[in-house]
Structure formats: structure tokens, C-alpha cells
């Protein structure tokens, strides 16, 4: 704020005595993995689409700030403890130690494989893990755990959002370019499943390679990769975004690029101007001097979910809170215009999604006309009947 506020500020009539009595503390442990390549200096600098642009811990801190006021009047204090560990074994040890000392809520910013292992090895503990950065569909499928809740959407939800948009535009014929890493292949498969679900036609599938080797030009030259076929759009499956960045405007035919670049599905966007999102984005920028991504949003929301449960149940008891968080009663306000709840069959948070260009939300999904017998948000993601998740209990 550049303007000078010409007056005396009588600040904060938050008389201390009103809040002091019977204060209870609820601890959240926030877990990070030291070797998480998503946060390498190079990747952060590149700011690829749909990738974190900084550690989402900043989002959790904003959540703590946003919930401070209502929790004060409930005489509960939330505490956020930050842990950075170098291995699965260390992460598991930290969870066990923290749980033994009374921490029951954890926010995990871990890669898919690490999170799957940590969740598996801590499933007996009376704790709840909020996943704020791993998008793998398997974590919500075969690898699901009853104590692992997913605030970020899964790749299959994001691909459903994209496919729903493509079909509504009648851009049905898709050329698929996919990388060779396991993550790229999984992403491609998620898209193929969504394409089938929404009735898109796959014209061809081609493999791309990062690099400039002329001997591999059919796999690293975009014009060649997109030749000898006709299509409405080019879908790129590139889990880290480095290749996808250079596909738009280089295709042989003048067609839109979708997937990992061009039109990208997302679950939060810095320029979304509705549902109160600008205020959250502005607060985030103010404290962190960078734009807020979906990962930051998820960490922010995880803290808000816990606070909402504490306030509505008027309790700090673990079972009361965890039951309420999973119930259909809870109203989770993710500032995306609909109240949200967790899907009982895989602990995934239901939510509206976006498809985005570089600087705008092109559409919010589900689109009008995509209906579901119970909740239209369930047109995005795996349904109860198809779910491969079978909770142990």
C-alpha cells in the first residue's frame, strides 16, 4: 500500500482475557521430502504449467493465518510443525514419533511413490494424512489408505475435465504425444481412459523424446511428430512439462495443443476472478511474492478443513473430527463456488476443476449439461463402482 493512512489506528479490540481461558492446541505436522525433484531450482525457475511454483507450505501458513480468528473464539490454537526428511524411513519415523507425542493431523507434500510408502507404513496409527501434492490416480486406487485424504485432485479427474471440455467443443479427434517416463505413460493412460469415457477419438499415439539429436528427429521434432495425420487437437502427456512447453505453435497443422501445455486442466488459477478467489490469491501474493498454485491452494485448504471441523463439532477429539471431515455434513469452502466433500470410496475431495490457457480460466468444470445422478462434481473422476480402492477396514 503506497498511500499514507492519515490518522490514528485504534487497532484490534481483541481483549486478551476473552481468549485466554481453556486454550487447547491442535498440532499439524507438515511433511516434505528432501529429494523431491519438483522443487529443484531449475524446475521452480522454469515455472512449468501445472507444476508447483514453490513449496506449498506457504499455503498452509496462509491457512493458519486465515483460521486464527475463528479458532481464537473457540479457544483452540492450531500449531504447524514443518518436517523435511531425506528418506521414506525417516518420514515414517517422524510420523510415528509425532503421533506418539499427540499429533494426529499431517499434511504431506510428497511425491507419489514416497507418499504411497509412507501411507502404507503408517496405516495402523490413529492419524489423518492430507495429501496436497501427489496427483497419481493409483494413490486413490490400489494404493489407497483409509487414513490418507486427497485434497489435490487426481490425474484422472484432471483428464476427465479436459475430455469433458473437448467433447463440448466437438474437438473429438485427438493426436496423442507422450513421453517415455513412467509418469508420462501413466498420464497418457489416464487421458486415454477419459477419452473413452467422454467419447473422443484417438487418431494416433506417438512417442516424443527430449533432445536435439537429428537421428531421433521423428521423436523430437514437433513438426514431424505432428505430420501425416489429421486431428482437431494435439494432446501432450508430459508429466514435468519441459517438452510440452514447446509444442504450441509448432505443430504441422494449425491446431490447439492441450494436456501438459496449451489448454491445461488445473484446480486453482491465479487469475480466476470469481467465488472469492481473488482475495485468497491476493493474500497469498502479499505474503509470498509469487503466484498461488493449486498445490498452495490444497495446503491452505487442508488447514481450513481441519479448522472447519473443530469449529462445527466444537471438539478437538480425533475421532469426532475425522468422522466429521469424511461425512457429507461438512461444508468445505474451497473458494471455487460449490461446497465440497470427500468421496467415501477413495477419500478424494470432490471439486470443480478448470481448463486454463496461459493467463485465463477458459472454463470451469463440470460444464452445464454434464449431469450425475447424485452430485455433478462426480462427473470428474472415478465413481464408486469403478474404484479399485478397497479400504482395509
Amino acid at each position: 500500500m503506497l498511500r499514507f493512512l492519515a490518522c490514528c489506528l485504534v487497532l484490534a479490540a481483541l481483549s486478551a482475557h476473552a481468549w485466554a481461558a481453556d486454550k487447547q492446541t491442535v498440532s499439524i505436522a507438515y511433511l516434505e521430502y528432501d529429494q523431491d525433484t519438483r522443487y529443484s531450482a531449475q524446475r521452480l525457475e522454469a515455472r512449468y504449467r501445472l507444476q508447483p511454483w514453490g513449496r506449498p507450505f506457504a499455503g498452509a501458513e496462509l491457512g493458519l493465518k486465515d483460521t486464527r480468528f475463528p479458532l481464537m473464539s473457540a479457544q483452540v490454537k492450531l500449531e504447524l510443525n514443518h518436517w523435511l526428511e531425506a528418506s521414506v524411513a525417516d518420514l515414517v519415523k517422524t510420523v510415528q514419533q509425532q503421533a506418539a507425542q499427540g499429533t494426529q493431523f499431517f499434511i504431506t507434500d510428497l511425491p507419489d511413490d514416497v507418499l504411497a510408502e509412507v501411507a502404507k507404513q503408517t496405516q495402523e496409527l490413529p492419524i489423518m494424512l492430507f495429501n496436497v501434492s501427489a496427483l497419481g490416480s493409483a494413490l486413490r486406487g490400489q494404493q489407497c489408505q483409509p487414513h490418507l485424504l486427497h485434497v489435490v485432485p487426481s490425474w484422472d479427474m484432471l483428464m476427465d475435465a479436459l475430455a469433458q471440455y473437448l467433447v463440448s467443443q466437438k474437438w473429438r479427434e485427438v493426436l496423442v504425444l507422450a513421453g517415455e517416463t513412467p509418469a508420462d505413460k501413466t498420464l497418457k493412460q489416464d487421458f486415454l481412459n477419459s477419452a473413452k469415457r467422454f467419447g473422443l477419438k484417438i487418431v494416433d499415439e506417438r512417442v516424443f523424446t527430449l533432445g536435439r539429436d537429428p537421428r531421433q528427429r521423428t521423436q523430437n521434432n514437433i513438426a514431424l511428430l505432428t505430420s501425416k495425420a489429421d486431428y482437431d487437437v494435439v494432446f501432450v502427456a508430459d508429466a514435468n512439462g519441459e517438452f510440452a512447453r514447446y509444442v504450441p505453435y509448432q505443430t504441422l497443422l494449425p491446431r490447439p495443443v492441450v494436456g501438459s501445455n496449451g489448454l491445461v486442466p488445473d484446480w486453482w488459477f491465479w487469475s480466476w476472478e470469481r467465488h472469492g478467489a481473488p482475495q485468497v490469491n491476493n493474500r497469498f501474493v502479499k505474503y509470498n511474492q509469487r503466484l498461488m498454485t493449486g498445490y498452495d491452494w490444497a495446503a491452505w485448504l487442508a488447514v481450513k478443513i481441519l479448522s472447519e471441523a473443530i469449529l462445527r463439532t466444537n471438539s478437538t477429539d480425533f475421532k469426532t473430527l475425522s468422522d466429521y471431515i469424511r461425512s457429507d455434513e461438512i461444508v468445505i469452502d474451497g473458494v471455487k463456488g460449490a461446497s465440497q466433500t470427500f468421496r467415501a470410496w477413495n477419500n478424494q475431495l470432490r471439486q470443480p476443476l478448470f481448463v486454463t490457457s496461459g493467463d485465463a480460466v477458459v472454463a470451469r468444470l463440470p460444464l452445464e449439461g454434464f449431469l450425475h445422478p447424485v452430485n455433478n462434481l462426480d462427473t470428474l473422476g472415478v465413481e464408486a463402482k469403478q474404484s479399485q480402492c478397497a479400504f482395509a477396514h
Partner: protein, 328 residues
């Protein structure tokens, strides 16, 4: 931004020229509509609904209030970080007041001395002295304060926090927080009965309206809505308007594109009136016969005949109409 600098010059030119009460202003019956995306307040003839004038204001005009003598129209300009003051007779902005960042909703004391403004980005209520033209105090509240309402006797200020899901009750004299009342999710706007005892607050994401007893600060009831063909997630109540006899509460239901007509006596919904897209702001004519509704996503007003609860006309106004006030 050039226009902001332009407006900063006004206080210098006109300092001290705004008397609190002045000669009576003859009511024109005109409608004033703030247009968030056109950075303008539109003036419509109250009978023909023809556009009479478009008054340029600072960025993102939202809440509107007349001064008690109807001489001035105050306009909260969120992105413009100002309350613009329109001289109603001249039809133009004559000064801009700095009342803290991102003013969204505000209310005035009945004597026009105090202005209470929610600053949505700062988690603060600003108390502004209109006679001295300066900020008298700021009170910290939950994040994203929105609805602001002064009790009829001027002793209490009610403020909603969209993030804290609370209604804050502030003592207008001492500026102390008297109570924080937990209501539904994302509380937005208020309506208060004439006797000051019953306060209604709309919960946008909760999909309900909470009923608050202002004597002991408790929630005594909750209204819910079920217009035909809309699921719970579309029911996002925002605007509240009581009829002048306190018998009827009109509630705009946001994405459910309806206005609910509620009987205050038994809190039952009597009717749902289909209006435009994302209805938020609404206002009732003095004779209670006409209800005006601003549809933010269809860029028009729905004009309702309250005797038959039917839209008799819809009038295109411009981009994202927010608030409607009537000079009558």
C-alpha cells in the same frame, strides 16, 4: 493509474465543501446501478427504465448508499481503493475518499456522520468520519469481511467474515468486539428487522440464511431453500431485503437464479421467483410494490411486481451489475 490521480485532486479542490445536511434534494425516482466491470454507475429513469446517464467512477464499483439527505451517493470502488462521492444533482464524482484498501460493502450511521467499511483484503473494518474526512479507527475482524450493517439505534455494527464464517458484533462507541457468532459458510449480507431484534445473514456456500437474536447473540434458526431443478450446490444466497412491514424477506439465491420469498413470521418459503443469472443485489421500492434484482452474470436487472411475485421486465444494464439504489 491516471484516473486515480485525477480523483485525488478533488479533496484539495473541494475540502470542506460537503456539509452534512443541506437543502432538501428533490427525489427523482431514478435508479442507480453500480457496474463492477464497466467502472461506472448507471442512472436509469425509474419509470421507463431508459438510461439517463452513465457516471464514470473508480475501478470496480460495488456497494452504493445515499447520504441521509440524498445529496451524495457513495460508491465503494474495490480495485480503485476508494469510496467515490457522486453529487447526485450534478451526476458526477466530486471526490474520492480513502477508507482503506479494497472497500466492498459499507453502511452509514443514520445521521450520516460515520461510514463503516469492510476492507476485504485486510481483514479489517474501517470506521470513517465523514465530517472530518478521515479514518477514525480500524477494527481487526476475520479475513475477508463483507457484509456491514449498523443497528438502527447506531450502537452496534455487524460485520460478516467470509473466511471465519462469523458475524462480528462491534460496539460503535468503544469499537470493541462484543461477540463473534459462528454462522453458516461464507456469510455475505444482512437484513435487520425494524425493532432491531432479529438479524438475518446469508450464507453463500452453506446455502442457508441464519437467523440471529441480537439480544443474546445466538443463532435461533436457519432458512434453507429448494427451488425446483436446482441442487444444493447451486443454492448460493447472497442478497437480503426485508419488506418495509417486516413481514417478508426476499433472498437472492445466486447461481440458483431465483429470489426466494420468505414469510418472516414462521420462516417458511412462500415462493420462488425466476430471475436472471447469479442474482445478488436487490432493493425494494418505497411503496413496496417493486423489487429490483441485479443479475451479475446476465448483465441485467429483473424487475419484479411483488403483488404477484413475477418478473414484469428485465433491463440490460452493462457488465456485472452489483447494487441498485433508488432516489426516492
Amino acid at each position: 493509474m491516471p484516473h486515480r490521480i485525477r480523483n485525488l485532486a478533488y479533496p484539495l479542490l473541494l475540502a470542506g465543501l460537503l456539509p452534512l445536511s443541506s437543502t432538501l434534494h428533490a427525489a427523482t425516482g431514478d435508479l442507480f446501478v453500480s457496474l463492477e466491470k464497466d467502472n461506472a454507475v448507471l442512472v436509469l429513469d425509474g419509470k421507463s427504465y431508459e438510461t439517463k446517464q452513465q457516471i464514470a467512477v473508480n475501478e470496480q464499483p460495488r456497494a452504493l448508499h445515499f447520504s441521509p439527505d440524498k445529496k451524495w451517493l457513495y460508491v465503494a470502488c474495490g480495485d480503485g481503493n476508494a469510496i467515490d462521492v457522486i453529487d447526485v444533482a450534478q451526476g458526477k464524482v466530486v471526490k474520492s475518499l480513502f477508507v482503506g484498501e479494497e472497500p466492498e460493502i459499507f453502511d452509514l450511521s443514520q445521521d450520516g456522520h460515520w461510514m463503516y467499511v469492510s476492507n476485504e483484503d485486510d481483514g479489517e473494518l474501517t470506521i470513517y468520519d465523514l465530517t472530518q474526512e478521515k479514518v477514525a479507527a480500524t477494527v481487526e475482524v476475520g479475513e475477508e469481511p463483507e457484509g456491514v450493517l449498523v443497528s438502527h439505534d447506531g450502537t452496534r455494527i455487524y460485520v460478516t467474515s467470509e473466511v471465519a464464517n462469523m458475524v462480528h458484533v462491534i460496539d460503535a462507541q468503544s469499537h470493541e468486539l462484543l461477540a463473534n457468532i459462528l454462522v453458516g459458510n461464507r456469510p455475505r449480507r444482512f437484513a435487520l428487522t425494524q425493532d432491531g431484534k432479529t438479524l438475518f445473514v446469508s450464507n453463500e456456500i452453506g446455502g442457508t440464511v441464519s437467523v440471529i437474536d441480537t439480544e443474546n447473540y445466538t443463532v435461533t434458526g436457519e432458512l434453507s431453500f429448494a427451488p425446483k431443478g436446482f441442487r444444493r450446490e447451486y443454492i448460493t444466497p447472497v442478497g437480503l431485503q426485508l419488506s418495509h412491514d417486516d413481514q417478508t424477506l426476499y433472498v437472492t439465491l445466486g447461481r440458483a437464479n431465483h429470489v426466494a420469498v420468505v414469510s418472516v413470521k414462521d420462516l417458511s418459503v412462500q415462493d420462488y421467483i425466476l430471475v436472471g443469472t447469479r442474482a445478488w443485489g436487490l432493493t425494494l421500492s418505497q411503496d413496496g410494490k417493486t423489487l429490483y434484482v441485479a443479475n451479475g452474470l446476465s448483465d441485467d436487472l429483473s424487475i419484479i411486481d411483488t403483488s404477484q411475485n413475477k418478473v414484469i421486465r428485465s433491463v440490460p444494464v452493462g457488465r456485472v451489475p452489483h447494487t441498485i439504489v433508488i432516489d426516492e
